[in-house]
């Protein structure tokens, strides 16, 4: 089963990369009030059961893929 994980800086966490991107977009003339930059992780999993996949990915995020102090994550199954 394929899965995509979206990792984002949590609300309120300083995101200098997002600020720099927003600033550059405004310099190009775009009407952008704010930008946040996160990370996309596409996985190809060995399991085919959606519930099992979700549980497995939550463990991956807890152990490695996201830092809960500063990041939130969203799991999308069967997308990548």
């Amino acid at each position: 089963m394929k899965a995509t994980i979206l990792v984002r800086p949590k609300a309120g966490i300083l995101d200098p990369q997002g600020d720099a991107v927003g600033h550059s977009l405004r310099k190009l003339g775009f009407d952008v009030a704010g930008a946040r930059v996160g990370r996309v992780i596409d996985l190809e999993l060995g399991v085919d059961d959606a519930d099992a996949a979700r549980a497995e990915i939550e463990r991956m995020c807890g152990e490695l893929l996201a830092n809960p102090l500063i990041e939130s994550f969203e799991i999308r199954l069967g997308e990548s």
Binding site: I13, L14, P16, N67, L69, I70
Partner: protein
């Protein structure tokens, strides 16, 4: 017979201050022992562990994240939980935070620029294994060189850490957007410390400052005590 305290220096792929750390530790009386990250045990008689600076695993995912789950880290965790002194410098600090051995996390510098300069910092607490040769309020000059050194924790954690003496070093100026100008923290029992500045680059006045030697010498003191303790038959 070897009476020098053994300090294990963990080498990850991408570590680049391991040799400097080893040299500096030798200059303050320790016997450095380099340990590859794929090892699962620390060398016999290890009295302290240093996680050096660098760019482990190319800073992929988040700085320190991949190194924090390297095979050797289980042994480091066990060593720390037995009271062994563990010091993380720069990337080593990032690794210890990602391994949850230290509170908080290191984020990209607010100015999004790599900083490389001498930094002045104030000693905030000395009741830990690393700053016993310093006094509260003492100013140290130690170089920094990092792109992701802005330490962050939520407000409640920060207040609690400060009250418990776990915020041990603060920059005199805002260097990187670090919350409360934090430069270094310790764990609750004071035997694990991380800092962004590089004490191993400040052990000789010829290079501008020997203040880093105060910290490393205290680590070696602690390593000698811990190593002797570990060697005592029960």
């Amino acid at each position: 017979m070897n009476h020098r305290a053994v300090v294990a220096v963990v080498v990850f792929p991408g570590s680049n201050d391991d040799r400097d750390a080893g040299w500096a530790l030798g200059s303050v009386g320790a016997e450095p022992a380099f340990v590859w990250h794929e090892e699962t045990v620390l060398p016999d008689g290890t009295g302290a562990v240093v996680l050096p600076g660098g760019f482990s695993y190319g800073d992929y995912l988040r700085t320190g994240a991949i190194a924090s789950v390297a095979p050797i880290m289980d042994a480091v965790r066990e060593f720390a939980s037995a009271g062994g002194p563990v010091l993380g410098i720069c990337n080593g600090f990032q690794v210890l935070c990602e391994a949850r051995l230290l509170p908080g996390v290191l984020r990209p510098n607010r100015q999004l620029e790599f900083v490389c300069s001498d930094a002045t910092m104030r000693v905030e607490a000395v009741d830990n294994l690393f700053l016993r040769r310093c006094a509260v309020g003492q100013e140290l000059v130690i170089p920094v060189k990092h792109g992701e050194g802005a330490w962050y924790a939520d407000e409640g954690t920060f207040v609690q850490l400060a009250a418990r003496g776990q915020i041990v070093l603060r920059y005199a100026d805002d260097v990187n957007g670090s919350l409360g100008n934090v430069a270094g923290v310790v764990n609750e029992s004071g035997n694990v410390m991380g800092l962004m500045p590089h004490p191993e680059h400040a052990v000789d006045p010829l290079l501008g400052s020997a203040d880093g030697g105060l910290l490393l010498a205290a680590l070696v003191d602690a390593a000698a005590r811990h190593g002797a303790l570990a060697a005592t038959p029960v």
